[in-house]
C-alpha cells in the first residue's frame, strides 16, 4: 500500500473557515489516481462554497491564516488574498 498526499488551498473572503471561497488551488500527489475535486455549482465558482464543505468532503485542515495587524502606513493597502486555508487528504494507492 502506498500513500500519497493531495493538497487543497482555499482562500476565503474573511478569516472564518465557513466564509465564502474566493480562490483555490489543488495539487494532486496521486497524479489523478485519487478522488478529484467536485464540479462547481456554476462555472467560475470554487469546488466548495466554503471551508466547512471541504471538511465535510473529507479534507483535513493543515493550516489557517494568521491574523496580523497591518503595519503603520499599510492599513489601506491590499496585497495577496489574505485568508488562506490549507487542507490535505491522504490517499491509499494499491
Amino acid at each position: 500500500m502506498t500513500q500519497r498526499q493531495q493538497v487543497l488551498y482555499l482562500w476565503m473572503a474573511g478569516s472564518s473557515l465557513d466564509e465564502k471561497v474566493v480562490g483555490w488551488a489543488f495539487h494532486d500527489g496521486t497524479e489523478g489516481a485519487g478522488p478529484q475535486l467536485p464540479e462547481p455549482k456554476r462555472p467560475g465558482d470554487g469546488p466548495y462554497s466554503n471551508g466547512l464543505c471541504a471538511l465535510q468532503d473529507g479534507w483535513m485542515l493543515l493550516q489557517s491564516a494568521q491574523l496580523t495587524s497591518p503595519a503603520p502606513g499599510q492599513e489601506h493597502l491590499n496585497a495577496y488574498l489574505e485568508y488562506e486555508f490549507v487542507f490535505e487528504r491522504r490517499v491509499d494507492l494499491s
Binding site: 488551498y9 482562500w11 476565503m12 473572503a13 474573511g14 466564509e19 471561497v21 474566493v22 480562490g23 483555490w24 488551488a25 489543488f26 467560475g44 465558482d45 470554487g46 489601506h76 493597502l77 491590499n78 496585497a79 495577496y80 488574498l81 489574505e82 485568508y83
Partner: protein, 300 residues
C-alpha cells in the same frame, strides 16, 4: 485639448472611472480587419527576429510613441489609429514613450501556461501608472489561449511570484474576442497566458507605454461635471445615482469586505490624482480619517 492623432476618440469620464475601478478597458473589434489581416506576418517576423543578431527589432525603450514603428509598418498603422491614440492619450498623454513590447504566440494545441503574475517589479507607491495594450489581431475563441486576468487586482501591492499559487480566483476572466479587439490594462493587473487547446493559433501584440506628463484630466471631460460626485457621496448616507462614486462601488467577487473598502480608498486616491480634486472620496473613508482632527478641534 485632443491632439490631431487622437482626434475626438478620447475616453469619457465614465470610461476612465471604469478603468480605475476594474483595472482594464475592453474595446471589441476596434482595429480594422485590413490591419488585423496584415498584422500576423509582421508581428510573426518581430517575434522570430527580435533576439537574433539581425532582423526586425523593437524600438529602444524611451522612444517617443510617434517615432515607434515608422510607416510602412502594420504595427505602426495600428499605433497611429485615431481610436487607439485616443485611448492612449486619455490614460498616459499625447506623447508617451515606449517601454517595451512583446509578441505572445500560442500555436493551436499549445499547452504552455503562465502562472498568474504582474509584469515587471513591485511598483512605486505614487499614483502614476503605465498602460499595456493587448491587441488580438485574430479572433480568440472561448478557452483557446486568451489571457487570463483578475479584474480589480491592479491596485494591490504584491510580488509577481507571490501570485503563482492562485490557480483559480472567483471573478477572473479569460479573454475571448473578435479579431481586432484591444484590452487596455493598468500595469498592476494580475494576468497570465493560458494554454490553447483549439486548432487556431492565438496571436497577441502587447505594448507598454510610460506617461511623460501628469495624467490629469487628459480624457474628454465633457461629461465630467455630470458624473463627478462630491466627497459626501456615501452609501450609508446619501448617494448620487450615475456618479463616479457609483462606479467605484464595483465589488469584485474575490474581494472580502476589507479588500473592498481598502480598494475603494485606493480608487479614490487614484481618482484624486487623475482629476486634481484632492477632496474626492467615495463612501467617506478618506474624509472621515482626514477630517477627524479638524472636527475635534472645531475647525471644520
Amino acid at each position: 485639448m485632443a491632439t490631431t492623432a487622437a482626434g475626438d476618440h478620447r475616453l469619457s469620464t465614465r470610461q476612465m472611472a471604469e478603468f480605475v475601478a476594474n483595472g482594464f478597458l475592453r474595446f471589441d473589434a476596434i482595429v480594422p480587419a485590413d490591419i488585423n489581416e496584415r498584422a500576423i506576418d509582421e508581428i510573426g517576423q518581430l517575434n522570430a527576429e527580435r533576439l537574433l543578431p539581425d532582423g526586425m527589432k523593437p524600438p529602444h525603450s524611451r522612444t517617443p510613441l510617434d517615432d515607434c514603428y515608422p510607416l510602412p509598418s502594420v504595427v505602426g498603422e495600428y499605433l497611429r489609429l485615431p481610436q487607439i491614440r485616443g485611448i492612449i492619450h486619455s490614460l498616459v498623454g499625447a506623447d508617451p514613450v515606449f517601454d517595451h513590447d512583446w509578441v505572445h504566440h500560442i500555436p493551436g494545441g499549445g499547452s504552455y501556461v503562465q502562472p498568474l503574475h504582474v509584469d515587471a517589479a513591485t511598483d512605486s507607491t505614487d499614483p502614476t501608472f503605465d498602460v499595456q495594450l493587448f491587441w488580438y489581431p485574430s479572433a480568440v475563441a472561448r478557452g483557446e489561449g486568451g489571457t487570463r486576468f483578475v479584474p480589480g487586482s491592479h491596485l494591490t501591492r504584491v510580488r509577481s511570484s507571490g501570485l503563482h499559487r492562485y490557480q483559480h480566483i472567483v471573478g477572473e476572466q479569460q479573454v475571448a474576442c473578435d479579431a481586432g479587439s484591444v484590452f487596455v490594462f493598468h500595469h498592476g493587473l494580475w494576468h497570465a497566458g493560458q494554454p490553447n487547446p483549439g486548432d487556431n493559433d492565438r496571436w497577441l501584440y502587447k505594448i507598454r507605454l510610460n506617461p511623460t506628463e501628469p495624467q490629469v484630466r487628459l480624457w474628454d471631460t465633457t461629461d465630467f461635471t455630470d458624473v463627478q460626485s462630491p466627497p459626501t457621496d456615501h452609501i450609508f448616507a446619501r448617494m448620487q445615482p450615475g456618479s463616479v462614486a457609483e462606479i467605484f462601488r464595483t465589488w469584485h467577487p474575490w474581494m472580502g469586505i476589507t479588500d473592498y473598502r481598502n480598494d475603494q480608498i485606493q480608487r479614490a486616491l487614484l481618482w484624486r490624482y487623475l482629476t486634481g480634486d484632492d477632496d474626492f472620496d467615495v463612501d467617506y473613508y478618506l474624509t472621515r480619517l482626514e477630517g477627524r482632527a479638524d472636527l475635534v478641534e472645531g475647525r471644520a
